[in-house]
Structures are given as C-alpha cells and as structure tokens.
C-alpha cells in the first residue's frame, strides 16, 4: 500500500514505530498531488516550504520523544477560507487575490499546536457559496471518481484532496452542507459539528449564524481525531461554547443495540435517485438487524427549510461581505468618489453567484420586504428547531441520504441556481438548527459513483452520532476507491 493511501490512525502508528517519517508522509502526498492536480485541481496553493519545515520539526520532536498526539506529523489541507498568517488566503474570490492575512484562524493555530503538517489551501466555491466548486474564481475542481463530474461543494477542493490521496485529512466549512455534500459525492467522511463548538475566528464569514468548520477524512475515526484537535472554547469567537464537550471517541466501537433511529420521511421521494434511496434503505435495515429500533418520523418544516435558508444565508452574506470594498485589503478598482470606488471594486471583484446572493440578501433585508421574507424565514428556522426538539424526544439520532443524487456532471447545474441549491436539501436543516451531522460513504451506484448516508444528532450529541456513524461504516464495509489515472505534470 502506498503511504498516501493510509488513514491518519495508520500513518500515526507507522510514525511512532519508526517505519516511516513525517517527511516521507509529506513527500507521498506532494508526489500524489503532482500526479493528480492536473485532473483534480484540489489545491489553490501548496505550501511546500512551510510543510517541509513542519515535517522536519515533527520528525525531530518525535525522535526526541516529544509527542503532540495523533495529528503530530500528519499532512492535512485547509479550505482556502481559513486565514493563514503569511500564506495567501483568497476564499476562491478575485476580490481577495494576493491577500496575505496578518493572523491565523483559531483552527490553524490549534492544528499547528498539535504538530500537524499544513499542506496548503484547497479550492472552494467563491466565499463558500455553491455546491460544486464551479463558482471558484480560480477554476473548478473535479471528482476523483470521474473527472467529468463535480466533487460537490463548497469544500470540493478539500474533498477531492482527501478522496484523491493528496491529503490525509482536511478542514472544510459547512454553512448549508458544504462539508457533508462534497464528502458524500467523493466517497469520504465529512462532519459538521454542533454550532459554537469549533471557533469561527479567522474563518472568512459567509453566514455567521450557520457557518461551522469541520473535518473531511478517510474514515469515521479520523474525523473524530481531527475534531478533538480543533474544537473547544475560544474567547475570540463570541458564539463559542464554553461548557463541557462530548467524548467523541468513547463509543466508537459500541453497537447500536437499543438505540432509536429516526428515518426522516421528508428527505426521500421524488427527486431522489433510486440507487441513493435503495442504499439508504438497505443501511436502515442493517441497523435494524443490529438491534436498533427504527422509527419513521415526519418533520414537516423540512419541506420549507430550504426556502428559509436561501433568505437567511444571503441576508447574512450581504452584511458580511460589505467589508470587501477595496479599501483595507484585496482588489481595488479606482473611482472618482469612495462610493464609486467601492461599487466598481465589488462589481469587478465578485463573481456572479456571490453578486446574486448579495442582491438577494439585500432585497430580503430591505425596507418593505423584511417582514415577508427575512422575518418569516427566521420563524421557519425556529419552527425547524421545534420540530427537531420534538423528534429527539422519541429518537436518539435521525438518518437520511446526505445528497439526493450522486456526483453530477460538470456544467450540469451551473446555469440553474435553483437546481444547484437543491443539492443541499438534506443538509440544510442541520445548519438552521445548529445540530451536528456526519456523512459516511455506504456504497456506489451502478455507475460506480459513491453514495453518502447522513447521521444527525441533537446539539452536543456528537458522542451518539459518532457511535452510530462508526457502526454504519462497519456495516457498509465500503472499501471502493477511485481509480484515478495519474498524469505527471
């Protein structure tokens, strides 16, 4: 087996037994990237020098017996909407071309503290707005399972890197499904933690009440490992949770006997591919076979959750993106007045999807329309939270497909914003509620494209969520890997 195919746990074991070094692990991912980037375009920027320095430091530390834990010496990738001091951070936008942050995001600081080797920055839909990574101003990423298809989005670069073997794991951000949906479309694990448990400090904001950073990884155990390193209270994020955190690894090997698993009726039916529905139904049967009690549940507000999301997220984005005005950082187009400079800069610097959402959000918040749109969307959000609260009175977790379809073809939805938005129909409710959810690969469709299974839990319910996810992974015994032809650049 090639080094780049190892999981984080396996790579860590080899590091500690002396079978390999962090420098070799890094070389395996860089070598793999050099043979796959022409097809995948997972990375916007590979920090060869910085990564080599960290790997050398990790090897020296480990040789001296200084062990910073399971991520020490492991090469990981970062979505390019997380600020990295001294390393260009663009959020996939022309308006931030050349921007070099003067500080690290908290998640970056934490990964550095535990000795992770940061490979570089991965591609994304501009400002994380999209479900295919085709909205990146720097060109799209592609799916390792079929390079004619999208890797999902917006964390599509992180997903393509992990699935393609050019990173052992990665961080993404999830505002409406941007970690889970690309994980599903590329056959890997992707997890959105409870809102408030991972600091957003240094994450370039899209919709602050929905954004959450989380891991993309080759398996469930690695996701738990990365999560443990990055979460925890941060005084620099005023929405950060300061109470007790769940033990995500405690029940990783525990069976599902006696657990109540709710199947969400609204996340099925027309619009869902038969292969996806069949794979999900089969997994539900397997869980029942292992002693879980299956309960079919109706959450009626899920039908209108997406409408609420496409008002709330753009509304918050229109406010958050006001900071990109050509004055303090990034791209500038001159103008006779400050206002003209701003309007010129923004029209040129933002891509069409970002402009569309800024206009939508500005409209939804504007005088005369606020109550009918934004105000009403907030009521729907509260109603979704109430629906879920009553569901969790009778079940421990909820399950559904992660995406109604497998990976779609590049270009297929790019001219139809509504069709693109539907990619996130299964994932959006958990962003509105703030609850944790994870996608686990459970099989492939007749075209050999991966299918993801979503496990959802109440806020701070990560322990039971990981317990069920690990069992799903074991039952699925998903061992398929993409057959990606290497092309030396």
């Amino acid at each position: 087996m090639n080094l780049h195919e190892l999981t984080i746990t396996e790579a860590g074991a080899r590091l500690r037994s002396g079978e390999t070094t962090s420098a070799e692990l890094l070389e395996s991912t860089l070598d793999r990237a050099s043979r796959t980037e022409a097809q995948l375009h997972a990375f916007l920027n590979i920090d060869r020098d910085g990564a080599s320095e960290s790997a050398a430091k990790a090897d020296a530390d480990l040789a001296e017996g200084i062990d910073r834990g399971p991520l020490h010496g492991i090469p990981l990738a970062l979505k390019d909407n997380m600020c990295t001091r001294g390393l260009e951070t663009t959020a996939g936008s022309q308006i931030l071309a050349g921007y070099v942050p003067p500080y690290d995001a908290t998640v970056v600081t934490r990964l550095k503290e535990v000795g992770a080797v940061l490979l570089g920055k991965t591609n994304l839909d501009e400002f994380a707005m999209g479900s295919s990574t085709e909205n990146s101003a720097y060109g799209p990423s592609f799916n390792p399972w079929d390079i004619g298809r999208v890797p999902g989005g917006s964390s599509g670069g992180s997903a393509a890197a992990v699935a393609g073997g050019s990173a052992f794991g990665a961080l993404g951000s999830d505002t409406g499904g941007s970690i889970r949906q690309p994980a599903s479309l590329t056959g890997i694990v992707g997890m959105k933690p409870t809102y408030g448990t991972v600091s957003r400090y240094g994450l370039i904001a899209f919709a602050s009440s929905l954004d959450q950073i989380g891991p993309l990884s080759k398996n469930v155990e690695d996701a738990a490992t990365i999560l443990r390193a990055i979460w925890g209270h941060d005084p620099l994020d005023s929405t950060s949770y300061s109470g007790e955190y769940p033990d995500v690894s405690a029940d990783l090997g525990r069976d599902v006997r006696g657990l109540k698993v709710g199947v969400v009726k609204e996340l099925a039916g027309e619009g869902y591919e038969p292969a996806v529905e069949q794979a999900v139904a089969r997994m539900v049967e397997q869980l029942a076979g292992e002693g879980a009690e299956i309960v079919e549940l109706s959450l009626p507000t899920f039908d209108i959750a997406m409408s609420a999301y496409y008002l709330i997220a753009p509304a918050e984005a229109s406010a958050n993106l006001a900071r990109f005005d050509g004055i303090r950082y990034g791209h500038r187009v001159q103008g006779a007045t400050t206002e003209a400079l701003m309007a010129n800069t923004r029209a040129e610097g933002f891509g069409p999807e970002v402009i569309r959402r800024i206009l939508l959000g500005t409209y939804a918040l504007s005088a005369g329309y606020y109550d009918a749109f934004y105000g009403q969307a907030q009521k729907v959000r509260a109603a979704v939270q109430e629906d879920l609260a009553s569901a969790y009175e009778s079940v421990d977790v909820l399950v559904s497909p992660t995406s109604p379809t497998v990976a779609f073809s590049a270009g297929e939805r790019i001219d139809d914003p509504l069709a693109m938005y539907l990619s996130d129909i299964c994932t959006i409710p958990m962003n509105l509620s703030g609850d944790p959810a994870i996608s686990i690969p459970i099989g492939v469709d007749p075209q050999s494209l991966p299918i993801g299974f979503q496990v959802m839990a109440p806020a701070l319910g990560e322990q039971v969520m990981f317990r069920v996810a690990a069992q799903v992974e074991q039952l699925a015994a998903f061992t398929a890997r993409p057959v990606l032809e290497e092309v030396v650049q």
């Binding site: 009440s209 209108i304 303090r328 003209a340 309007a343 939508l360 703030g434």
Partner: protein, 115 residues
C-alpha cells in the same frame, strides 16, 4: 407546526410558486449593495431573483408563530470577556495589505462628490 397544506409540494420539496407577483427594484437593490452593474446584468439578476424569491416565498406558508425566537442552538444570549489589554495586529503588517496607504492611514478618494 405545519406548512400550509393548501399549497402543493413539487417533487423536490418546493411548494409550487405562489401566485403573488414579487416586485424587485433591482437598480435600487444594487445601489444599496454598492454594486456597479450594467443594465444587462441588472436585467439578468432581476429575472433570477424573481425565480428564487417565488420559491423562497414558501416561508409564508408557515402557519402561526413558533413559541420561541430563533436563537443560538445552545441558548447563548451574550458572551463576556475580561476587560484586559492585549496586543493587537501590527499596524504596518495590516497596512501592507491595503491597496493604498500613507503615513499610517488608508487612502481613499473624496467621500463626497466635489461640485
């Protein structure tokens, strides 16, 4: 709480578009958002926004008011930290990212149009 059962649901979970026409003064919205767009661009975005808002209007099918206001999922209302001095970002490093700066300031054109 249930969405209004009188609306039909489309295959993908959307309700069929409401019959109400949605007015969009797209030039006004673009001005509020500080986006200098051409007439062609404005026309295109206006059509797309109309389609999206037709569907987003489904939020109006929710009957009644939820008993709670939407809030932080963990129920947080506010966060406080000790009022202590701590280092801030280095001024020169920050200004180095600005398109134009001088003597420790950001440089901008006149804020008001001159007569």
């Amino acid at each position: 709480m249930r969405p209004d059962s009188r609306s039909g649901t489309s295959p993908t979970g959307f309700y069929t578009p409401a019959a109400m026409p949605i007015e969009i003064d797209i030039a006004h919205v673009a001005r509020l958002a500080r986006l200098d767009l051409s007439q062609d661009e404005l026309d295109g975005y206006k059509t797309q926004l109309g389609d999206i808002l037709d569907h987003a209007a489904q939020v109006q099918s929710l009957e009644g008011d939820p008993s709670t206001e939407s809030e932080h999922p963990l129920g947080f209302v506010n966060a406080f930290r000790p009022d202590e001095r701590r280092p801030s970002l280095d001024r020169d490093e920050v200004l180095a990212q600005a398109p134009e700066s001088r003597d420790g300031f950001f440089v901008v054109p006149p804020a008001m149009e001159s007569e």
